[in-house]
Amino acid sequence: MIQLPCPWCGPRNASEFTHHGEVTSRPDVGTATPEEWRRYLYFRQNANGWVDENWYHTAGCRRFIRVRRHTLSNETEAAR
């Protein structure tokens, strides 16, 4: 199990966190087309490399944190 670098708590086991997936940005609700909205809902980069992810430290500080993670090596760096 990898550790994640929580900027509040220090390194903690990943099992303390809830994965909230890649960072996305919410389209303008007033103008979004169905395609834009569903891209926001369902489409992810799924890169083989560095990705920015949201994690919630459920069993810790209960902060949403942003972590840069390399999906191949599992290297991480805090990106709050």
């Binding site: 919410r26 919630y56 599992n74």
Partner: protein, 1169 residues
């Protein structure tokens, strides 16, 4: 007086590990044998002349002792109910019942016939070939193969063993306790590192135990005398995962058979030594063929004479030394074949036993023992798991580390190269010191990142990277196979001929041939056979060994019991404050997520009728409750709910539905406005945690500028719904300070007041059941008091409790949907029949675009009320609704027999065009029959106009009632006493490790900016605890979150003191009483951290978590605040969790602490912090 047991037992040996002073008996296949303490099962049997311990997997050939170690493939036995015991490793115990495995038809049976029969189809790839066509033969194949099934027997009646686990955070973890491992451990410990030294065998020493017992004893004593080294013998490193997450199986404990240690090591040193490899030739698996290390172990460790007349094939000094050992033991060495001069063996003769050895040139030497010393295998698996690819060295005739492992992993000892004992130890010391240096660097960065340290300055570790010394390798002949074919993989019965055949059939790479033949895939997992397999494949393909490469070593390094992997099973359970009452009154328990709830008390239909006719009370504590405070709460509510919230007046309650961004209904509940900027939100019971996280997500990531503080208060309140026409009468008999008249407290309103003498109760007038009803939220410690008062004061009104089933019937009669029951993961809001609540004219709310489009398209199902035409038929939930042609057009989502109407009633989802009232539907029942049902006008089957809750009986006067008693969630022992209205445990213990319930302490939560004026006024922040001048303890429990603890009964004073403090700062902050919402336990004693390390993965060292540290983590899988507050130098930890799980945590701590002799100590008369 010493007595020795066994016909083959030798006179005392210098390094022997048996205790000759005593002996005991055990049985093998029903026959009695004697053993000394220290004997393995197999050494005791060998001491009595036994040579056959099992039969092989496919061909059922007799198998004996080959390596005399954990990895001896022929020595796997059954011990009682336990299969696959490593007989050459497991110590014999008095009375042990051992039996052999793979003994179809019996251990002694002449297997010629079977070999002839089996040989036809048990060749390479037989798994794949056997299960091909013709299909009609499969049952026959199965029958035959079942006879071949190996690996012992599992009894379904075997009781579950107790297993547990533990976390560890060593600076340096060393795999292997031989001379290199011990030297590395000593060097690392002397450099200040904490070391965990793991040795697979029962003693430290490695090969020194038989090559140089004096040196082994000396090093072992030095390790024992050095601080900072934790030695685990009979334990093994199973695997290495990312960031040095290391699994260790510990087997040297008395209270548990096997324990899994999850270690996060800063550096890993791999010092597994070398494993001697067998030689491939005809008959190489015959009992009596042994490795040089095996005979040296037998003679030197167990004083067992391995045979009478031996032939030795030697290519190295281990073989040479074995000759000397054999001679000393009185074994006649009939011939030495020195492979360094080109001599070789061809085959052994004999079936159950070696009779003679045939040498090159055909000479035949009579012997009962053939000892081979043909080379070594480096068990590099831990290095491979760390990214290394081993490289073949033709000079050393073995694979060596490739040097590309992660830089937190180092290797020393035989794995790394060859050398004299001094050279190996010197190398290991350099590696150990470097491991300690890297660990110190790593620790420095880790400590710098944790907020729990005290103010002591962290000094950057000194020391610069050392150039790692290298060990050379010695010349060794490349010796793998003689001129004949023999067994390569003993566990899977794969011969070198099979491998040649596999290559001939096209499986010409190591990975393919391995899978096709199953070589290296048995219980020994390649440790003995990999290099021979690769050499054979190389030979068959005409490639070199280096070109062929090795197969991939994966975890686990050795097999481990599933029980050890499972460890303790931690499943947090939640109870309401009234749960014990429910149990005492024969409630049928319902498991609802983590909650245990009363389903009913015997007759749910009668409970329903009583609610409709008189008054019932139900425990609804699991309903999610979030305290919302701040000026921007209306913005938050408008964003999360589909309906509008801007104009909710103080004292008003509104029902709301939440959707996700895809428009699918996520949760529902009511939210009430308690004050100007103060709201209480309720959620479904199952959705409470999800909604909280959802709210935090929107606040933290999308709207960090909004002034809203959210505090979960689900278990801060015991929630009781009082429902029925007589509910006003009942509630008013116990309520003070609230006008309960129909005009004074209307439907969908909220009030706060005193109930049965308990202050700060929240009363909602809402109606899930359709009756006049009051939902009372009572400070949880008083829940049982209020519950019992309601029953007592409502006796003349006919009050009785009702359970979840009764409530489900009542709400279905009333047509209220349950999210997750009447909706699913595809149900968008317009499909849930809540059109009236959806306000598309709001600028924004979560999921709005999808709902705009759903409305435009009119797509999706509709939730409707449904009544079967036959009033006695209750279609089971999930029954499909179909057209006459069988097309599915919907389904029944809820169904019950209505006690009120005396007919079946349902809710269901149907296609929009069939949702019109009166539409006739066909319900397809699970038994295949079909019944007609009709869509009803309303969701509600009973009282669709909603008149019943408008009943307008006058309230009564409050009556005298019993004095409130506050109760902790932890059940006290039989002896109790009262402190500040709390009933507490009065037991006293002076045990070294004690567990005490401190729930009665005043607990106040404060929220503010993590670095603002409130933080400054409180004097601490996340990670640290201070004692403030008002004798309270201020715990920095989270970023911008504090927990203030005070003496019992002092919460009101503490609350107002904190409110003043926050107000004086002028910053936006909230102060909430958590006294009743949380459980608080204390563990004290020198072994407190050891106990916690069994249930908590966070490092509790003095450096990372000193006195005064505060952190939140998972304890026994429960989110818990851990606060270290030592008692005059004795370590003590306060554990703070949600009240409903307090008993669970208490029990889990007692369970984990049993090995330390933990005892419950009652609450002290004047609890201090």
């Amino acid at each position: 007086m010493s007595r020795q047991v066994g016909r083959k037992r030798l006179a005392p040996q210098q390094g022997e590990v048996i205790d000759r002073r005593t002996s005991f008996e055990f049985s093998f296949n029903g026959k009695t044998y004697a053993a000394h303490p220290g004997d393995t099962i197999v050494s005791a049997l060998a001491a009595d002349g036994e040579r056959v311990f099992s039969r092989s997997f496919k061909y059922h050939r007799p198998r004996g002792l080959l390596t005399a170690s954990f990895h001896d493939p022929g020595c796997m036995v059954q011990v009682g109910d336990e299969p696959n015991v490593r007989g050459a490793h497991r110590l014999a115990e008095p009375g042990m019942a051992v039996s052999s495995q793979n003994t179809w038809p019996s251990l002694k049976f002449d297997v010629k016939a079977i070999n002839r029969f089996a040989g036809r189809f048990l060749t390479a790839g037989f798994y794949y070939k056997t299960f091909m066509k013709p299909e009609f033969l499969w049952p026959t194949y199965q029958k035959v193969l079942r006879q071949f099934v190996h690996a012992g027997e599992i009894s379904p009646d075997t009781p579950h063993d107790y297993y547990d686990k533990r976390y560890a955070h060593p600076d340096v973890l060393i795999a292997g306790g031989g001379p290199a491992g011990m030297s590395a451990a000593l060097a690392a410990a002397r450099a200040g590192a904490s070391v965990m030294l793991v040795e697979e065998e029962h003693q430290l020493g490695g090969h020194l135990r038989w090559t140089n017992p004096g040196a082994a004893a000396e090093l072992t004593a030095e390790v024992a005398a050095t601080d900072g080294i934790e030695v685990l013998t009979n334990s093994v490193v199973l695997g290495r995962y990312d960031q040095n997450w290391i699994a260790v199986a510990q087997r040297d404990l008395s209270h548990v058979r096997e324990r899994l240690i999850k270690a996060r090591a800063r550096t890993l040193v791999v010092a597994g030594g070398l494993i001697e490899r067998p030689y491939v030739f005809a008959g190489n698996d015959t009992p009596g063929v042994m490795l040089s290390t095996a005979v040296r172990r037998l003679i030197n460790l167990h004083a067992v004479k391995p045979g009478e007349r031996a032939v030795v094939l030697t290519a190295n000094e281990s073989g040479d030394a074995a000759i000397a050992d054999l001679e000393r033991a009185g074994v006649e060495v009939a011939h030495v074949a020195d492979a360094r001069t080109g001599e070789d063996v061809v085959r052994v003769h004999g079936r159950k036993d070696v009779r003679a050895v045939e040498l090159t040139g055909g000479r035949r030497v009579n012997a009962d023992l053939l000892v081979t010393a043909t080379g070594w295998t480096a068990p590099t698996s831990l290095l491979n798991m760390a990214g290394d690819v081993p490289v073949y060295s033709p000079k050393a005739a073995r694979f060596l580390p490739g040097g590309t492992a992660d830089d937190t992993v180092l290797a020393t000892g035989g794995i790394a190269g060859d050398g004299s004992l001094d050279q190996l130890c010197e190398h290991a010391e350099a590696i150990g010191a470097e491991a300690a240096r890297r660990a110190a660097n790593h620790r420095y960065h880790q400590l710098a990142a944790v907020p729990t340290r005290n103010d002591g300055k962290l000094s950057k570790p000194k020391g610069t990277a050392a150039t790692l010394p290298e060990l050379g390798v010695r010349q060794h002949p490349e010796l793998f196979r003689a001129s004949t074919h023999g067994i390569v993989d003993y566990s899977e019965d794969v011969s070198s001929k099979d491998l040649h055949l596999a290559v001939a059939e096209g499986y010409d790479s190591a990975e393919l041939a391995k899978r096709f033949t199953t070589a290296t895939m048995g219980p020994i997992q390649g440790k003995l056979e990999t290099i021979n397999a690769i050499a054979t494949i190389a030979e068959a393909t005409g490639k070199t060994i280096a070109e062929t490469g090795t197969t991939t070593w994966r975890p686990m390094y050795t097999p481990v019991s599933l029980g050890a992997l499972a460890g303790r099973i931690f499943e947090p359970v939640r109870y309401s404050p009234m749960q014990r009452w429910h149990e005492q009154h024969n409630a049928t328990p319902l498991v609802a997520g983590q909650w245990i709830r009363p389903d009913h008390y015997g007759d749910p239909a009668a409970e329903v009728r009583n609610v409709r006719e008189n008054v019932g009370i139900i425990d609804v504590t699991p309903i999610g409750k979030l305290d919302l405070q701040g000026a921007d709460v209306p913005k938050l509510l408008n964003l999360l709910y589909v309906n509008k919230w801007s104009k909710l007046g103080i004292g008003r309650v509104r029902y709301g539905v939440m959707c996700a961004e895809d428009g699918v209904v996520m949760d529902d509940g009511v939210t009430g406005r308690l004050g100007e900027d103060h709201y209480l939100m309720s959620t479904t019971s199952s959705g409470a945690a999800r909604v909280w996280e959802w709210v935090e997500n929107w606040l933290q990531t999308e709207h960090p500028d909004w002034q809203v503080h959210v505090t979960p208060v689900t278990t801060a309140y015991a929630s009781i719904n009082v429902a029925g026409p007589k509910s006003r009468e009942l509630v008013s008999r116990l309520t003070e300070g609230v006008d309960l008249s129909a005009e004074g407290f209307g439907y969908m309103q909220v009030r706060t007041g005193r109930v049965a003498g308990v202050d700060d109760c929240v009363l909602w007038r809402i109606g899930f059941t359709g009756e006049l009803s009051y939902e009372l939220h009572v400070p949880a410690s008083y829940g049982l008091h209020v519950w019992e008062a309601l029953l007592e004061h409502g006796r003349d009104l006919g009050v009785r409790p009702f359970g979840v089933e009764g409530q489900r019937i009542l709400r279905l009669e009333k047509g209220h949907l349950i999210v997750g029951q009447d909706t699913d993961g595809l149900t968008k809001a317009w499909s849930a029949g809540i059109d009236w609540a959806i306000k598309l004219d709001k600028d924004d709310f979560v999921g709005k675009p999808e709902l705009v489009w759903q409305k435009e398209n009119g797509d999706g199902a509709r939730l409707v009320g449904i009544q079967p035409v036959d009033r006695d038929v209750v279609p089971p939930e999930a029954s499909q609704l179909v057209t006459s042609r069988g097309t599915i057009v919907g389904r029944i989502t809820s169904s019950r027999m209505s006690p009120t109407l005396g007919r079946s009633i349902c809710l269901g989802q149907v296609d929009a065009e069939l949702a019109k009232p009166g539409t006739l539907l066909t319900v397809h029942l699970p038994n295949g029959s079909k019944v007609a049902a009709r869509v009803t006008e309303h969701h509600a089957h009973v009282d669709p106009e909603g008149t019943r809750q408008n009943i307008d009986t006058p309230p009564s006067q409050p009556r005298p009632h019993a004095t409130p008693v506050a109760r902790s969630p932890i059940a006290p022992g039989t002896k109790t006493t009262t402190i500040a209205s709390w009933q507490v445990d009065a037991r006293r213990s002076s045990a070294g490790l004690r567990l005490t319930d401190h729930t009665l302490l005043a607990k106040v939560g404060v929220r503010g900016r993590h670095d603002g004026a409130i933080a400054e006024a409180l004097g601490t922040s996340y990670g640290r605890t201070i004692r403030d001048n008002g004798s309270a303890v201020v715990v920095g429990s989270g970023p911008g979150e504090w927990l203030v603890l005070g003496s019992p009964g002092g919460q009101d004073k503490l609350l107002s003191r904190m409110r003043d403090l926050v107000e004086n700062t002028g910053e936006f902050g909230t102060v909430i009483d958590q006294t009743h919402g949380r459980a608080l336990l204390k563990i004290s004693g020198e072994e407190a951290a050891d106990l916690l390390a069994k249930v908590c993965g966070v490092e509790l060292s003095d450096a990372a978590t000193p006195d005064g540290a505060a952190l939140r983590t998972s304890v026994a899988r429960l989110v818990t605040d851990v606060i270290r507050l030592d008692d005059n130098g004795v370590p003590a930890y306060f554990l703070h969790c949600e009240r409903s799980s307090g008993q669970y945590l208490f029990d889990a701590l007692l369970d984990a602490g049993a090995e330390f002799g933990i005892e419950v100590d009652g609450t002290p008369a004047a609890p201090t912090l």
